[in-house]
């Protein structure tokens, strides 16, 4: 065992840090800091992906032949850490971590040539059409149908939690192409352009004033058969591949580190009885517990990245990262709210540019924190609920 970081990683870190400092405008960083959610606003996401792409860094984790950098897992770790620490916007995960990998792994050569250059260039935002109103955790029973007619599919049904659909050019959908086989076997992975006639998108107002979650209604939507990714009937396999492909992403470790640092800063400027909150025993203890959990999470991620031989099924480790990471998202954002006290209860518009200017009474560090904490309740719901993750561990680690 060797727990030391390769010293060459520090050179790499400096190189990345300098590049980000050159490329990331203060305005974009400030918008991200003021906003500070899990995802960034769509315009900045697209713009930043383009900027990274100019360096060949927009999809660093992809295979080199598809535009990846060939960096080691530890270099990717440092890269992501630096991006977050510098308040860089995210890329669109639906593209970089979901649809892209499915296309380069399972798509035809034509499909790869058509989509991959656009995806890594950040030409547009993309939404994920998996969940349906009646099929959330029980995704395999999804009912949105795609019936083949000539060189088209005719798609009918309804999707929900299609985040960012209103701002997306494309969506990648799981649809049922064969109703007569086992639920998992009749599902296909289909690219659908969201301005196709027959598609209606409704934004769902959220707990925090945002309306990014969407419902997508598909009414006799004609989709070219060329938009099928891989084989018909293999959609479920591809969706499962996604879950297993990115074992560390759902830990949100970089996001959690960044927001923990923010919480520390907030607790050092907010005071009670003249004392910074961070020195109050009840807060100091909370900080210590969260920091310990956060360090444990980061080292769990490092174990995964360094490919530790693992006694249990690896997917159980991925579920562990998801559980610990989602709990931390909640614990850290709740801590931020508590640090702000009663002022945390003031409603602010979700969009940064719609908020009033900061004043002495209402300084700029107040808005946004509660909005983030409110939507963080979803962190133990999306991507497989906390309970689904526990079920996965019980099954895969213990065969229960």
């Amino acid at each position: 065992m060797d727990f030391t970081f390769d010293p060459e990683l520090e050179d790499f870190r400096r190189m990345v840090r300098d590049a980000i400092a050159t490329d990331l405008s203060p305005e974009m960083a400030e918008r991200q800091r003021a906003f500070g959610g899990v995802n960034s606003n769509h315009a900045d996401t697209i713009a930043w992906t383009g900027i990274l792409n100019a360096r060949g860094w927009s999809v660093p984790h992809w295979p080199v032949e598809y535009g990846g950098t060939g960096w080691s897992p530890m270099q990717l770790h440092v890269f992501n850490d630096e991006l977050n620490a510098a308040w860089a916007p995210d890329t669109c995960w639906g593209i970089t971590h979901m649809c892209g990998p499915v296309i380069y792994t399972f798509g035809s050569e034509a499909m790869k040539a058509r989509f991959l250059p656009e995806l890594r260039a950040g030409k547009y935002y993309m939404a994920q059409g998996f969940s349906e109103p009646g099929n959330g955790s029980d995704l395999a029973r999804l009912r949105t149908s795609a019936r083949r007619e000539g060189d088209h599919y005719i798609v009918n049904g309804q999707k929900i939690w299609t985040s960012g659909a209103h701002a997306s050019e494309w969506g990648f959908f799981l649809v049922r192409t064969d109703p007569d086989v086992k639920p998992q076997q009749g599902i296909s992975f289909l690219m659908i352009k969201l301005d196709t006639p027959g598609i209606t998108i409704r934004r769902i107002p959220e707990i925090n004033g945002d309306a990014d979650l969407c419902e997508v209604f598909l009414d006799n939507v004609e989709v070219p058969a060329d938009n099928l990714v891989g084989q018909e009937g293999q959609g479920w396999t591809y969706a499962k591949f996604l879950l297993e492909h990115e074992r560390t992403t759902s830990s949100f470790v970089y996001f959690n580190k960044r927001e923990f640092a923010r919480a520390r800063h907030l607790a050092s400027i907010e005071t009670a009885n003249g004392q910074p909150l961070i020195e109050a025993p009840e807060y100091a203890a909370r900080f210590a517990r969260i920091e310990a959990e956060l360090i444990a999470l980061e080292w769990s991620v490092l174990r995964e990245l360094a490919d530790e031989a693992f006694k249990y099924n690896r997917t159980a480790a991925a579920s562990t990262l998801k559980i610990a990471g989602s709990r931390l998202q909640q614990a850290i954002s709740e801590l931020q709210v508590d640090i702000l006290g009663t002022r945390a209860t003031r409603y602010y518009p979700f969009e940064v540019e719609e908020r009033e200017e900061a004043t002495a009474l209402w300084p700029g560090h107040i808005p946004g924190r509660t909005a983030n904490a409110l939507i963080s309740r979803a962190s133990t719901i999306y991507g497989g609920t906390l309970q689904i993750q526990r079920g996965i561990i019980a099954k895969l680690a213990f065969d229960l």
Partner: protein, 374 residues
């Protein structure tokens, strides 16, 4: 960065698993309670023969010059069977204090490696609660050509089977670490068992004679050396707690498959599955922060202490979750002496209380946090 055991560590794990699994069965451990000092002397000799006691002893002193990671790897295996042999007191605490002594302790280190000498730290005094870096009421005073030691010590872990105590005292030069053979005159020993079967003793020193060669360290050197040895010992114990938790996962998973209620294995019940999943997450995170702490043990003392505190906090609370739920999953059997889980529960309770409990760790982790650079 590599999280897989080296060839040497793999050998250590394999030989330890073989010996510990075969020898330290539940029946054997329960039988050891009847022995006068709680020790399995034959096993201890095997520990010495296998080189386990020599891991942290420098090569020039006849040891293996190994790392705390090597010691921790072994400690996790000891923890998996709740082994209470005085490994940490001698091979971690003792070896670190002797190897770092201002006056060379070559003979004692040799005796440590062969298993003949065993050591116990005598630090706590009446009214103390993890009072490290605090002046001691126990006094080392000059007498003739030498010194005498007087004072009351409590809860010296593993003292009943030890040959020597390493005593913290106030000397004319400030804090001092003094090594005293326990059969020396002027020492009264009141021994007792702890709930996990390990033994401790209260030690009363009444003008016990000390020669200058027995003073391991004095002044700020003594404080620094003790702090280093304590941090290593805390982590060696935490590694045992991790081994204990991981063993409990296996024990509980097997029990949930075997135990039938309502016509089916109780492992089919989702409420119990989710308890197992939470235990899994806690144990996994515990091992991760153990690695973090091991990576910081040779850092500067402030960083090291903070990393150890964070690890003890995380591992202490994980151990509580896992060991409590392991009892719950076993129903009534969980609170009997006849099932493993009650032994793991007691072992982890004792580990959590040694050299600083969870509350102590919380305070230490937060005290230094404002200017922390972890």
């Amino acid at each position: 960065m590599d999280f897989n055991p080296s060839d040497l560590q793999r050998m250590l794990i394999d030989s330890a698993e073989r010996l510990i699994t075969e020898r330290f069965t539940l029946e054997h451990r329960r039988a050891l309670r009847a022995s006068p000092d709680g020790m399995d002397g034959d096993a201890w000799r095997t520990f010495a023969e296998l080189g386990w006691l020599a891991i942290l002893v420098p090569e020039e002193a006849g040891g293996l010059g190994g790392s705390m990671t090597d010691a921790a790897v072994l400690a996790t295996v000891l923890g998996s069977r709740c082994v209470t042999e005085p490994f940490t007191s001698t091979a971690v605490m003792g070896a670190t204090l002797l190897a770092g002594a201002a006056t060379p302790q070559g003979e004692l280190l040799e005796a440590l490696v062969t298993g003949e000498a065993r050591f116990a730290l005598a630090h706590d005094e009446p009214g103390d609660r993890y009072a490290y870096g605090v002046p001691r009421a126990t006094r080392l005073t000059t007498s003739g050509n030498g010194y005498v030691l007087s004072g009351q010590k409590m809860l010296a872990l593993d003292a009943p089977s030890a040959t020597h105590a390493i005593v913290t005292a106030n000397s004319p030069a400030g804090p001092a670490l003094v090594i005293v053979p326990l059969e020396a005159p002027g020492i009264e020993k009141a021994a007792y068992a702890l709930y996990d079967g390990s033994r401790a003793a209260d030690l009363r020193f009444d003008n016990a004679p000390v020669e200058s060669g027995q003073i391991v360290a004095e002044g700020t050197d003594a404080e620094a050396l003790l702090a280093f040895a304590l941090d290593r010992t805390r982590i060696a114990l935490a590694a045992q707690a991790v081994g204990s938790m991981e063993a409990e996962l296996d024990i509980c998973a097997a029990y949930l498959k075997e135990r039938q209620q309502f016509g089916q294995p109780i492992g089919r019940f989702q409420s119990l599955q989710h308890i197992m999943a939470d235990m899994f997450v806690a144990a996994h995170q515990a091992r991760s922060i153990l690695y973090f702490a091991l990576s910081k043990l040779d850092a500067d003392p402030a960083q090291r202490a903070r990393a150890v505190a964070l690890a003890r906090l995380q591992i202490g609370e994980a151990g509580q979750l896992v060991s409590r739920q392991a009892v719950q999953l076993h129903g009534g059997y969980g609170v009997t002496d006849e099932y493993e889980v009650s032994h793991h529960y007691r072992r982890q309770l004792v580990i959590e209380k040694q050299y600083g409990d969870v509350a102590f760790a919380v305070r230490n982790a937060s005290f230094r946090q404002v200017n922390a650079h972890v």
